[in-house]
């Protein structure tokens, strides 16, 4: 009987901590999808602001930069996942050459888009560069959100 009471007391004390830890892990595991949503959520209003403030060409350049940054971030995630599969010997175990080519392909995509925009409309290049910083802005938003969640929910 005494043992049962002791177990109940201990479990009641531990349960909130375990629940909180599980909630915290679930919260941080959703960070990458949240960053991608932040990227989408930031791109459209900022593109509207750029359109009103700087004109159509720079806004188009900004949107192309945002699209490249989004694809770049997605490919980066895939490359890191493939690398983790390779290291831990889980999943499909992709070839090393494929991982390296995917990693370098992101830079080729950026360089090709910058060259094409530079040839078509050099003024849009400023918009493209601004769009390429979209992941940084999204990471900053995520950092702010995590700080808010940590203060509010104690994660």
């Amino acid at each position: 009987m005494r043992l049962l009471v002791y177990h109940e007391v201990v479990l009641n004390r531990l349960e909130p901590d375990v629940r909180r830890q599980a909630a915290s892990e679930a919260f941080y595991s959703r960070a990458l999808p949240r960053i991608r949503r932040f990227m989408l959520g930031l791109a459209i209003p900022v593109a509207g602001f750029v359109l009103l403030r700087f004109g159509l060409k720079i806004a188009l350049g900004f949107l192309v930069g945002c699209a490249i940054a989004y694809v770049n971030f997605y490919w980066l995630k895939r490359v890191v996942t493939a690398l983790a599969d390779k290291v831990t010997a889980t999943g499909e175990c992709p070839s090393s050459a494929g991982v390296v080519l995917r990693f370098l392909g992101r830079y080729l995509l950026m360089a090709f888009a910058a060259y094409a925009i530079f040839k078509i409309s050099p003024a849009s290049l400023y918009g493209l560069f601004a769009g390429l910083f979209l992941p940084v802005a999204a990471v900053l938003c995520e950092a702010g959100y995590e700080l808010y969640a940590a203060l509010r929910h104690g994660f």
């Binding site: 971030f73 983790a84 831990t88 560069f129």
Partner: protein, 101 residues
């Protein structure tokens, strides 16, 4: 022998007289210096970012191999780290473009 030493001393003194070899009016302009320093700045930024990415990837691969159960946290940190390191090279590129163009 003494004459020979005088000759060598005179020749060495002439070698030190750098204005003798100075260029004419067509020196390097401001734009040339901007282009040269931009190239060096981009090269240094790319090299340092490459080193940073390599160190981050190596450390995370080692951490994954040691503790595969910590994979979600390690991959998240690696993705964010690589994205932010890349943005540093982009900052340099933007500054160079603003200065050169």
């Amino acid at each position: 022998m003494r004459r020979l030493s005088y000759l060598f001393m005179a020749l060495s003194a002439m070698c030190l007289a750098t204005p003798l070899y100075a260029q004419g009016g067509g020196g390097m302009s401001h734009a040339d210096w901007v282009a040269i320093t931009s190239g060096f700045a981009m090269a240094i930024a790319s090299a340092v970012c490459g080193i940073g990415q390599a160190k981050a990837t190596a450390a995370s691969a080692e951490a994954l191999a040691r503790n595969p159960s910590a994979r979600p946290g390690i991959t998240l940190a690696l993705i964010l780290g690589l994205a932010l390191i890349e943005s540093l090279a982009l900052y340099t590129l933007v500054i160079i473009f603003a200065k050169v163009a």
